[in-house]
Structure formats: structure tokens, C-alpha cells
């Protein structure tokens, strides 16, 4: 496997196949499906508004979406919400299929990143993503005045023809790391909060270091309700979902 060690970006090398660095826990029993995370993510990451027609045809570009599933037959019907975002796979199916190294594993943060400038738009990565969380810039979407003023200066604005996806708010990770480095200390647990977790009114999303067994996110992930989405595919997701017997924690 010498070739794999030579090209660490796409390999399931020792460094990335482990536990990971940053991770997330989403408690589905707490999620109310309010979509605050979706709105916060759009604001934070300069995600384009695609308009009604494109959205209805599945071209919404949200990096996190609330998937609502109905369970049971009427009238005993209940809903469950699954916030779906990039799982930052340790062994990501999107990475090796990209011909131009636009979909890569970041060695520093151990998350999966999209290099917009390299993307030529073959869309193989999005096809190959089992979670279908990669979004494509189908057009050059415009931001009418005064919406252009809300763009986040820390995040690249993407143009037509490139793929994009959740970055775990890497701009915030970098800011927190820089701050900790300048103050010559370690990052505190809970210091780094991505936009979705920050906006969640039900505190359903927890973010932190999963390589630290004492962090809040690691403790929650060990909760008996934990599972990973499509775990059987061997993608090594960095996101753990918590779900009890029924929705809304009634049987939690």
C-alpha cells in the first residue's frame, strides 16, 4: 500500500482512519425540525438562494437539511426529524472519485474539504455520496440588494459549476485555534461552536473534539442511543445521531 501513503489526501491512511478530531452529536429526540440550523448555516457560509423553482426540483444548496420522515399509519402517525449534513467521513466515498483533487481530506482538521478553485464540475463526488449532502452550483445565483451586505467575509463565495458542502464551519475552527495559539493554551471544550449548533434552540447539536474522551461530544456519543448514519458502508462518519425508541423523546 505504498501508493496510498504517498497521497494521504485520498487514502484511508492510519492518520485519518482513526477516531477523527472534530465531531458532532445530533440528538434526534431533541430536534423539533425548526430549521434554525439551516438558516444559520446559510447565513454563516454564504449559501446561495436558488429560488422556488430550483428548490422544488431538488437544487436547494443547504449544507444542512432537516429530513422529515413519517412513521406509522394514520391516525397513529408520528414524525421524526433527521438533520442531515456532511458526515466528514474518515473514509469518504467522494474523495477518490474526484479527478482533480477538489474533494480532499484535510490533514490538519481531519475533515473532508472541497477545494472550490480546483473543481471542474464532473459531479462524481455528489453521485457517490451516500448521504447526498454535497450541493452543486447549478447556476450563478444572484443576491439582490441589500442581501449582498450580509455575506460573511471569512467564507469564499462560490460561483457557477463548482461543488460545495458543509465544512464544519472551518473558518470558526481556524479562528478558535488561532485565538488559543495566541493565548498559548489548549482549545477549551465547547469553545468551538459551528453555526448550526449555535442556532439550535433545543441544544440538539453538540460539537467538539471526539479524540478527547472527556469532551461533551464524546460523552454524548457514548450514550446508548447513539448510531451513525449508514454505518454499514464503512465511511467512518464523524457525526453520531442519538435516537431513542420513538420520536420527541417520549419514550427516550
Amino acid at each position: 500500500m505504498t501508493t496510498q501513503t504517498k497521497i494521504p489526501e485520498t487514502s484511508i491512511g492510519q492518520s485519518t482512519a482513526g477516531q477523527g478530531k472534530w465531531g458532532m452529536v445530533i440528538d434526534q429526540d431533541m430536534c423539533t425540525g425548526c430549521q434554525a440550523c439551516v438558516a444559520a448555516c446559510v447565513m454563516e457560509n454564504n449559501i446561495s438562494f436558488v429560488g422556488e423553482d430550483d428548490l422544488a426540483y431538488g437544487r436547494g444548496m443547504h449544507w444542512i437539511r432537516i429530513e422529515r420522515f413519517w412513521q406509522g399509519d394514520f391516525p397513529k402517525v408520528s414524525s421524526s426529524f433527521q438533520p442531515m449534513l456532511c458526515q466528514q467521513c474518515g473514509h469518504a466515498p467522494c474523495e477518490p472519485v474526484c479527478p482533480v483533487y477538489a474533494s480532499v481530506q484535510s490533514a490538519a482538521e481531519e475533515i473532508n474539504l472541497q477545494v472550490y478553485n480546483r473543481c471542474v464540475g464532473t459531479r462524481y463526488c455528489a453521485n457517490n455520496c451516500p448521504y447526498q449532502v454535497r450541493t452543486f452550483n447549478w447556476r450563478d445565483y444572484t443576491r439582490p440588494e441589500p442581501l449582498n451586505n450580509q455575506l460573511n467575509p471569512d467564507v469564499t463565495v462560490r460561483r457557477m459549476g463548482v461543488m460545495e458542502k458543509c465544512t464544519f464551519c472551518i473558518q470558526r475552527i481556524n479562528a478558535v485555534e488561532d485565538k488559543a495559539a495566541s493565548e498559548n493554551r489548549q482549545i477549551k471544550d465547547g469553545e468551538m461552536v459551528p453555526a448550526c449548533a449555535q442556532a439550535c434552540p433545543a441544544y440538539a447539536i453538540t460539537f467538539g473534539r471526539i479524540d478527547d474522551p472527556n469532551s461533551k461530544v464524546s460523552q454524548k456519543a457514548r450514550d446508548g442511543r447513539g448510531f451513525m448514519a449508514l454505518e454499514e458502508l464503512g465511511t467512518l462518519p464523524r457525526v453520531t445521531y442519538l435516537k431513542g425508541g420513538s420520536s420527541h423523546g417520549s419514550n427516550g
Binding site: 431538488g58 479527478p99 482533480v100 473543481c119 452550483n137 447549478w138 457557477m160
Partner: protein, 477 residues
């Protein structure tokens, strides 16, 4: 007399009522044949120019104009969406690669096995290989979100310091298509050289200048022929593994992905036979069109040729059905819920009409008709059967690409693909471009290789043994 002669013919010769139906037993003098081919290139009625101009306009507007519109407005004007990230353009890529691969493959296969009916049709098949791969390459470019950066996929040293990723099946595909484009072009040019030299010696004016350049100084010396034959032989043999491997690489674009309905080990040979099926059918369609529209072609392209190709079509159709059944049976029996959903979607979903037409066009009709020798010898029936197979194979690829992508691992994203006018226009545009290339090239390159026909005729003679006529062939290499 005729009945008696027939009765006295040995069993293997009983195929033909009259051996003279076969081009090889119906020789004409060399100069006359050369003139026939030269004449065909220089004769065109007003209908030819009307069709050419209409096709050229369509290529200009429907292909390049609409492509410009697509580039300016983004992939959003096509029908692709989540989770169907690959749509009609990828269908066209696979379709044209299939047509193209089969072109050179059929030609090489028939040459290698000295089938005796290939002499007049190899050239048309080789053109099909080159013109088809051009359409496949174009379709790849239609598909790319930022096509102006296509050269980022080429492994050349660059200022960005990034090499393409050879882990990606798309990279293999890119290399495979480029390799094939080069090999099939060389394979077309080699047997063309003596014909170009022949044309050079029989023309004046701009044609003479053109052929003088293209003929590469071929004078027909012993050494010229020796080297040419050796080269053609090498290419004919090499073409077969090249075609099989390149088509398999194309199938890996799909088979190596994680999608239900794609991740299949049978995709390699399945794509190879699919390419063959559509390619031989397309060859028949083109041969019938050339035969009925171009001057002097009825002498070269005969019902006897179509008869032989019809048998080939029937066998390929059966092998195709065998592989399709395999590709269907294994996931069905395996019972994986997503795989079963994909199959159910094909059978009962909005594309079910494509699924059933595909089975009828690709298997039922060929099986019902092609066993019949009379039918195999009727050009327009063969044309229709071939056209239906070509359409059926496009449907097959449509079901494989957007028809399968509908079902993803995330049920929340399931969606039915809606083809857009842009995709329809560009698909028809590649078809028009393919036809236009044939029309343009028909004016200055021979569609028939007279030297190969003459060579075949020299080695085939009819002998009289008593009162019986016996066709006999001798081996020359």
C-alpha cells in the same frame, strides 16, 4: 441447370443461391472499380447539399449554439439535479463510446478472422469509430460544470502544481477515451493510405494537392505494401483488447460507485456487449443509408453483406440478453432493498415504457426477425431493425444513468429526472454532427476501400468442376 448446379454444390457453399451475389465472386476490373469509387466521391445531387446544409445549420445552432447557452447559464438549464447528478449527457457519452468502440472492433474482428464479407464495410466502420468518439468527447464536455477548465484533467506540468488524481475512475475514463481516439484514428488512416494514393493518381486540381499530402508518399512498392500490411495486422489484433479494456474502463465509472444498481461486477462485459450491440446495429443503418443514397454503392454493399451482419446482430442480441439477465437476476435474488427498488423503478416507474421498449427493440424484434434469411437480405427492414436497436440501446443507457440514480441511499432526496430541452437538443446535435461528418467526408475520402475489395476478389475465384460451379478461396497474407 441451376437446380442441378445447386444440388452438386458442397454443403458449405450452399449458403448462396448464386456465388456471384457475393462481392468477392463478382469481380470488376481494377480501373473500373477505382473509377466507381472516385465517381462516388465527386457525384452529389441537390438533395445531398440540402441535407448537408440543414444538418450543418442544426449543428451550428442546436449543438454549438445551445452548448454556448449551457456554458453561459450553467448546468441548471439541464435536467440534472440531486440525486441525479449525471443525466442525458452521460447517457450520450456511454452511447457514443459504444457506437465508436464497436466500429473499430467490428472492423478489426472481421479482418482478423478473415470473414470474407468485411472488405467493403471496414472503412465505414472505422469512420464510425472516429466520428463516434468525437461525439463522446463532446458529450463529456457538455457534462462538465466548468468545461473551460477541462485541461485540468490532463496530466501536464502546470503552474498550480497539481497532478490529476489517478484514483478516480473518471481519470481512467479520460485516459481511455484519449487513447482510443488516437488508436482508432491511426487504424482508420492506415488502410486509407493506398486508396488516397489511388485517388492522388486519378485526380486533378485541389483534390490532387489534398491527396498528395494525405497519401504520405505511398507509391505501391513492395516495401510500401509490406510495411502497410504489417502495420494493419498489428493494429487489427491490438484493436480487440484495446476496445474491450477501454469499454470496461467506461463501465467502471458506474460499477465502482456506491450507488445501488451500479455497483455490479458484470458491468464490464455487459458494457462491452452493449457497445457491440449498438455498434453493429448502427453500422447496418449507416451501410443501408450509404447504399441507397451514394452512387455506385449498390455494387459494394450488398444484401449478402447485410445478411452476414444480420447473423452477427442476432448472436450479439442473444449475448446482450444473457448479460442483461445476469445484471438483473443477481440483484433481484440478492434482495437488497435498494437494488430491488431500482429494479422496481425501472419496471413500473415513469421510465417503464423505456424499459419495455428496450427489451422489445434489443431482443424481441431481432430474435423474431433476424433468423430469417429473406429478412436479413432486405435493406430497409435491416435498417429499421438496426435503428430500433440503436434507440433501444440509448434507452438502456438512459435507464442505467438517470434511471438508476433516482434511487439513492437517502430516501429524502429521491426524485424523478426530467430531461430538459437543452439535453434533447444537444443529444440530437451530436447525432446531426455524426451524420454531418459522414456527409462532408464522403466528398473527399472513399467510403469503400477498393484495394481491399480487389485483394479479396483476387483470392476468391469460381471454378468449374464438371458442370458445377464451385466458389473457392485462397489464403493470401
Amino acid at each position: 441447370m441451376a437446380a442441378m448446379a445447386k444440388a452438386m454444390q458442397p454443403a458449405h457453399a450452399g449458403e448462396l443461391e448464386d456465388p456471384r451475389e457475393n462481392l468477392l465472386y463478382d469481380p470488376r476490373p481494377r480501373s473500373e472499380m477505382n473509377d466507381m469509387v472516385m465517381d462516388a466521391m465527386q457525384t452529389a445531387g441537390w438533395k445531398f447539399w440540402v441535407v448537408t446544409i440543414v444538418l450543418a445549420l442544426f449543428v451550428l445552432i442546436g449543438l454549438f449554439g445551445v452548448w454556448g447557452y449551457l456554458i453561459l447559464n450553467g448546468m441548471g438549464v439541464a435536467g440534472v439535479t440531486r440525486p441525479i447528478y449525471w443525466g442525458a449527457f452521460l447517457v450520450d457519452v456511454v452511447f457514443w463510446i459504444g457506437i465508436s468502440h464497436a466500429g473499430a472492433f467490428v472492423s478489426a474482428l472481421l479482418r482478423v478472422f478473415k470473414t470474407g464479407f468485411h472488405h467493403a464495410i471496414t472503412r465505414v466502420a472505422e469512420f464510425m469509430a472516429v466520428f463516434g468518439i468525437i461525439q463522446a468527447g463532446l458529450s463529456v464536455f457538455f457534462h462538465m460544470g466548468r468545461v473551460w477548465l477541462f485541461y485540468w484533467m490532463i496530466p501536464i506540468p502546470n503552474e498550480r502544481g497539481i497532478w490529476p488524481d489517478f484514483h478516480s475512475p473518471l481519470m481512467w475514463d479520460f485516459m481511455a477515451i484519449t487513447t482510443y481516439m488516437i488508436v482508432s484514428t491511426l487504424y482508420l488512416i492506415l488502410p486509407l493510405i493506398p486508396d488516397l494514393a489511388m485517388a492522388r493518381d486519378r485526380s486533378t486540381g485541389w483534390r490532387k494537392k489534398l491527396y498528395r499530402i494525405l497519401a504520405l508518399g505511398f507509391r505501391g512498392t513492395e516495401g510500401d505494401w509490406k510495411h502497410l500490411r504489417a502495420a494493419i495486422k498489428i493494429f487489427s489484433f491490438a484493436m480487440i483488447p484495446v476496445m474491450v479494456s477501454v469499454t470496461t474502463v467506461v463501465s467502471w465509472d458506474f460499477a465502482l460507485a456506491t450507488r445501488a444498481g451500479w455497483s455490479s461486477t458484470v458491468f464490464g462485459p455487459f458494457f462491452v456487449i452493449g457497445a457491440f450491440h449498438s455498434g453493429v446495429a448502427a453500422l447496418v443503418v449507416i451501410l443501408v443509408l450509404i447504399r441507397s443514397t451514394m452512387k455506385n454503392m449498390k455494387y459494394f454493399i450488398r444484401p449478402e453483406t447485410l445478411d452476414a451482419l444480420g447473423k452477427l446482430m442476432l448472436i450479439i442480441s442473444m449475448v446482450w440478453a444473457y448479460f442483461y439477465f445476469n445484471d438483473y437476476m443477481v440483484p433481484w435474488y440478492g434482495g437488497d432493498s435498494l437494488e430491488r427498488l431500482v429494479l422496481k423503478f425501472h419496471e413500473t416507474g415513469p421510465f417503464a415504457w423505456m424499459f419495455y421498449s428496450m427489451l422489445i427493440f434489443n431482443a424481441v424484434i431481432p430474435w423474431a426477425l433476424l433468423w430469417n434469411k429473406k429478412i436479413r437480405r432486405m435493406p430497409w427492414v435491416m435498417f429499421t431493425i438496426g435503428l430500433l436497436i440503436v434507440v433501444g440501446m440509448w434507452f438502456e443507457r438512459f435507464l442505467i444513468v438517470p434511471g438508476t440514480l433516482t434511487i439513492s441511499t437517502d430516501p429524502f432526496t429521491w426524485r424523478v429526472y426530467q430531461i430538459s430541452w437543452v439535453e434533447i437538443s444537444l443529444t440530437l446535435g451530436t447525432l446531426a454532427f455524426f451524420a454531418l461528418l459522414y456527409l462532408i467526408v464522403s466528398r473527399f475520402l472513399p467510403f469503400i476501400s477498393p484495394w481491399e475489395v480487389q485483394e479479396g476478389q483476387a483470392s476468391h475465384t469460381i471454378r468449374k468442376v464438371g458442370k458445377a460451379t464451385l466458389p473457392s478461396a485462397s489464403e493470401i497474407d
